[in-house]
């Protein structure tokens, strides 16, 4: 009796019940529920909205065009990836990471493999190590290109979006020729790669690098020098160093605020220790700084791809027989990689069973989005969209 009534009471008091107005707004905090007497009004943006990057929902309190208060609502593309990991052996989770962040699929896929390899001491042949890094960097460029396109689309320019997609297409074709898939890769497996690259891979990639460098020139001529673009970005959405550190922002967003943290340098993994590259940083922390940081990163990535191609050794790309059943050592393991959006970490808890006991993914967009909500207060609606576009979130990676 007592248990039952407690449960019912908890249900009745749960903020998602209609009594709390959940049918209309979801859970409203006092800042949003304020009576409209002060002239402000409530605006629900998303999850179906052209520039919410998937299914983000922003609850906004607006004063005319100014944002007074903002609350992001997440969870619309929650697919229980972490729970899925516990339901199968380690190898059965291989296709999942690339579906968390569909723009950095290769990096997530490789990151998971490296986490497992590092935890259970699995050897990776040299050729696979170089190739993984190469494909990850290509993937990073394709992710940043898509960001460039959608960011400009959010600012109202349509043409850069298509130009960026045409160039991104070339990367997708190259990665397709190697891995067999275009977006949600499952190329790496424990102990190496599933397939070797085709013969024309190197030639195609070099050709692409050449074309991409020319294309960057076009982008800069079309977009970077544009007065409207600079006015829309300069001084908009400034993240201070303190904000970045307190919210745990990583990746290009942190580097645009002057924090030179890059997992590839800080905790080197894969082939990165042997590559010559720089970590571009900016001090301003505004949308323009994030724009420049990402562009410089793409140029660094092109350099890295070239170096990988030059130093690609011969040999096997993986174990002769695919390593399906890894032998886990009980313990807790953490491995992180630099995804296009920041630090992506895999926390693995293993017992002696072939299934992971728990897998927790540390995804960068979650921290980046959390910091954004505070940032939006006092900006205009148009800035809201610009800032959201500039921090480059991927919703399935937040919701998982």
């Amino acid at each position: 009796m007592s248990v039952e009534s407690t449960t019912l009471k908890a249900y009745a008091e749960h903020p998602r019940t209609p009594e709390y107005g959940a049918l209309r707004f979801g859970t409203l905090t006092p800042a949003l529920e304020k009576a409209p007497e002060d002239g402000t009004y409530f605006l629900n943006m998303g999850p179906q909205h052209p520039s919410m990057h998937g299914v983000l929902r922003l609850l906004l309190r607006l004063d005319g065009e100014m944002v007074v208060h903002c609350e992001p609502v997440i969870g619309y593309s929650h697919r229980a990836h972490e729970k899925m990991a516990e339901r199968g052996i380690f190898a059965q989770f291989l296709p999942n990471p690339s579906r968390m962040d569909y723009l950095g699929g290769m990096i997530y896929n490789v990151g998971y493999c490296q986490a497992v390899e590092r935890a259970f001491s699995i050897e990776v042949p040299e050729r696979a190590r170089v190739l993984r890094t190469l494909c990850c960097e290509l993937n990073r460029i394709s992710s940043h290109l898509l960001w460039f396109g959608t960011f400009l689309l959010d600012l109202g320019a349509f043409t850069p979006f298509l130009l960026a997609f045409q160039d991104r297409e070339k990367i997708l074709d190259i990665l397709d020729s190697a891995s067999g898939s275009r977006l949600t890769y499952c190329y790496a497996s424990f102990g190496g790669l599933t397939l070797d690259i085709p013969d024309d891979f190197a030639a195609r990639t070099r050709q692409y690098i050449k074309e991409q460098r020319e294309a960057f020139h076009t982008y800069h001529e079309l977009v970077t020098g544009n007065v409207i673009f600079q006015q829309r970005c300069e001084g908009v959405g400034v993240f201070s160093k303190d904000t970045v550190l307190s919210y745990g922002m990583t990746g290009p967003n942190a580097r645009a605020s002057g924090i030179a943290y890059d997992v590839r340098k800080a905790e080197p993994y894969g082939f990165y220790p042997e590559l010559d590259f720089e970590v571009p940083t900016r001090e301003e922390g505004d949308c323009l700084a994030r724009y420049f940081v990402r562009f410089e990163e793409m140029e660094q990535s092109l350099r890295m791809v070239e170096q990988c191609l030059d130093r690609l050794p011969d040999g096997p790309v993986g174990p002769k027989k695919p390593l399906v059943r890894v032998k886990p050592k009980p313990g807790e393991y953490y491995h992180c990689v630099e995804s296009p959006r920041g630090q992506f970490g895999m926390f693995i808890v293993a017992d002696k069973n072939p299934e992971p006991w728990r897998i927790k993914a540390r995804t960068p967009s979650f921290s980046n989005l959390s910091a954004m909500a505070e940032m939006l207060e006092g900006t205009m609606v148009a800035d809201t969209i610009a800032i959201l576009g500039s921090i480059d979130i991927v919703m399935p990676e937040i919701d998982r």
Binding site: Y41, L43, H49, P50, S51, G64, E65, L152, L153, D154, L155, G156, A157, F158, T159, L162, L163, Q166, L222, V223, N226, I228, F229, Q231, R232, M380, V381, A382, D383, T384, I385
Partner: protein, 331 residues
């Protein structure tokens, strides 16, 4: 054809026949222009973006818009429950109807103005202001916050840009000494006539910027900024309601470019080809510039847009007007 006209004149009288004829011609112009412009815009967009644009229906996709129109006609017009029904239904009509009056005021050639009035230019700006009412009615009656935001933006933007538009046109009026569009063209043609683009280049620049803003075109399309306001003032419109707003937008583009061609490019003036052809060529050249701007620039923010009008374009056009007046007085 002649016998048909004679029969019509016999039954209706000359005045009614002219009215009917003019109406049919203008309606045809509006439809053909809109259909051509949609195709033209998509082709230019394709060209700018390194792709083909519509290719499937007809040679080079020329029939694409015709089929789009048929599709739009077949769409169900959804009227949401919470809208103010009368205003909601009236809004597209109010937005579109002034276009008919405006088209009849344009001088397509020396003696080809359907409604030749002394203060033609004034009438054009007056009627142009009416269409704003339609946009705001649609935004207000939709009972949608995105639409309302779009409507608010449209009103403040149109009021701000009406001033530089008028002031830059006034500089031309001073040069020509008349508000009659036919007289303005006449002042630019003839033996010692010079197109006003050479006398008033600053006014032309201001006019083009203000006209783009006045027609809510990118980079000034903040009333319908799709990445911010979904579809802005026409968020709740479907099917033909949306199509009429769309038609109005393309017709107003034609009109502002027609006025631009009249004021600055000598209207129907040009060698070899007949006047109306020259006029249309000039109009579509200006339209091409507008289309190119749309596919090149990002969108301005609301406050930047206002700053551009109030702090830059209006003072500049005032200075231009005063300078023109002073020079005309002295010379």
């Amino acid at each position: 054809m002649t016998s048909l006209l004679e029969t019509l004149e016999g039954t209706l009288g000359a005045w009614a026949t002219n009215l009917l004829l003019g109406f049919v011609i203008l309606a045809g112009l509006i439809t053909v222009n809109a259909m051509f412009m949609v195709w033209f815009e998509r082709k230019v967009a394709g060209w700018v973006q390194g792709r083909l644009g519509p290719m499937e229906h007809g040679p080079q996709g020329t029939l694409q818009t015709l089929l789009d129109v048929i599709k739009l006609l077949g769409k169900e017009s959804i009227i949401p429950d919470s809208v103010d029904r009368k205003v909601f239904l009236l809004a597209p009509v109010v937005a579109f109807l002034p276009a008919l009056a405006l088209l009849s005021l344009l001088p397509y050639d020396a003696n080809m103005t359907m409604t030749d009035v002394e203060s033609g230019l004034l009438l054009i700006f007056a009627f142009g202001g009416v269409s704003l009412m339609g946009i705001f009615m649609g935004a207000w009656s939709s009972n949608n916050k995105f639409a309302l935001l779009g409507g608010m933006r449209a009103v403040s933007q149109n009021i701000a840009y009406e001033l530089p538009l008028l002031l830059s046109a006034m500089a031309v009026v001073l040069c020509a000494g008349s508000l009659n569009l036919g007289d303005i063209v006449a002042a630019q043609t003839g033996a010692d006539g010079l197109w006003f683009i050479f006398l008033q280049p600053v006014a032309l620049g201001i006019y083009l910027i203000a006209a783009t803003a006045e027609t809510n075109r990118a980079p000034f399309d903040i009333p319908e900024a799709e990445s911010e306001l979904v579809a802005g003032f026409h968020t709740e419109y479907t099917g033909m309601g949306f199509a009429v707003f769309f038609l109005a937008e393309y017709t107003y583009m034609f009109i502002v470019c027609g006025v631009g061609a009249t004021l600055f490019l000598g209207g129907g003036d040009g060698p070899v080809l007949p006047g109306p052809v020259w006029f249309l060529l000039k109009v579509y050249f200006l339209l091409f510039l507008m289309v190119m701007a749309r596919w090149t620039y990002p969108r301005l923010r609301f406050d930047q847009l206002m700053n551009l009008a109030w702090k830059f374009l209006i003072p500049l056009s005032l200075i231009n007007l005063l300078a023109t007046a002073a020079i005309l007085k002295l010379v």
